[in-house]
């Protein structure tokens, strides 16, 4: 790898690093001024996207690898949301979810 490419890579690494830390700062700001699960998760998802694509180099891999890994994982994680109906049932002590 040439010195120029190395320097450019390090510059991009540092930019992503600062970006992730800045987003962490945004989360702390939101915690005190405008807390909300969806907002927190959205910022976390952006951080995760930066980490997966850049730090873990998934951006540079074959698209078939991204297709093999990401949709299945997201599907499993999204399907776990079905528990919320029971959670809300529990807090209201209802025998069945609405």
């Amino acid at each position: 790898m040439s010195a120029v490419t190395n320097a450019e890579s390090l510059k991009t690494d540092l930019l992503v690093y600062v970006g992730i830390l800045a987003l962490a700062g945004v989360q702390i700001f939101l915690a005190y001024h405008s807390p909300g699960v969806v907002r927190m998760l959205a910022v976390g998802a952006i951080q995760a996207f930066l980490a997966v694509m850049h730090f873990m180099h998934l951006r540079g891999e074959k698209s078939t690898l991204r297709l093999a890994l990401i949709p299945a994982t997201l599907f499993v994680l999204v399907m776990m949301n079905m528990i919320w109906a029971d959670s809300y049932r529990l807090i209201h002590l209802r025998p069945f979810p609405k």
Binding site: Y17, A24, Q27, Q47, A48, F55, L69, T73, W84, I91
Partner: protein, 207 residues
């Protein structure tokens, strides 16, 4: 005659192409990462379920705790950066640079673990145990120690694994691919923390 034919017999074809054009061991690490992502997802959803179902969930984390968490986040994200630099150095053939930055990553991981254990000790001293605490819902302790403990276990085992791989790389047993594969694990540990912090700490700040 290729070595593959020697081991597989005279009629053996060429070795299979690498899956997705990456070494098999790298694919295995990716598969482990997505399974672990689902595990952490399940644990965090279980935490959310219990929190949502409790009318008196403690909002306990004062500014000092949040500052501690911010420092821990800075340390862990910085360790991800140093691991990235180590991987690039290994790929470029710079063995001493790769080793240096891998060991820096291990040290930062241990600093993170020490800060975390210090916070745990502080909470235990305040009266938090697995099934009781002085503030509210009894399951706060179990979920808090469960989620953060699982993450801490990953950090400590990652630090051990990186040390073993770095020492093997130094001796020539492992190569740059192995450094890259374990850097994937380390970045994953950092990625999980980015969800643990808002879910466990930031949504429960003391007001």
């Amino acid at each position: 005659m290729s070595e593959a034919n020697l081991t597989m017999g005279h009629d053996a074809g060429v070795m299979e192409e690498r899956p997705f054009a990456i070494p098999s061991k790298k694919l295995v690490m990716w598969l482990f990462i997505i399974s672990d992502a689902c595990t952490f997802g399940a644990v965090l959803y279980a935490y959310g379920y219990v929190r949502n179902a409790a009318p008196d969930w403690p909002h306990h984390f004062e500014a000092a705790s949040i500052i501690n968490v911010a420092i821990m986040t800075f340390v862990l994200v910085t360790s991800s950066l140093t691991m990235l630099i180590a991987t690039r150095a290994a790929k470029a053939g710079d063995k001493s640079g790769a080793l240096r930055f891998t060991f820096i990553t291990v040290v930062l991981g241990l600093v993170f673990a020490a800060l975390h254990l210090r916070e745990w000790m502080s909470m235990i001293h305040e009266g938090v145990s697995l099934f009781q605490n002085p503030w509210g819902a009894p399951l706060f302790g179990a979920t808090f120690f469960g989620v953060t403990g699982l993450h801490l276990l990953h950090v400590i085992s990652g630090a051990i694994a990186l040390t073993v791989v770095a020492l093997g790389y130094k001796r020539g047993r492992y190569n740059a691919d192995d450094i890259e594969i374990w850097s994937l694990y380390w970045h994953f540990v950092d990625l999980v923390w980015m969800f643990v912090v808002p879910m466990v700490y930031l949504l429960n700040v003391a007001r």
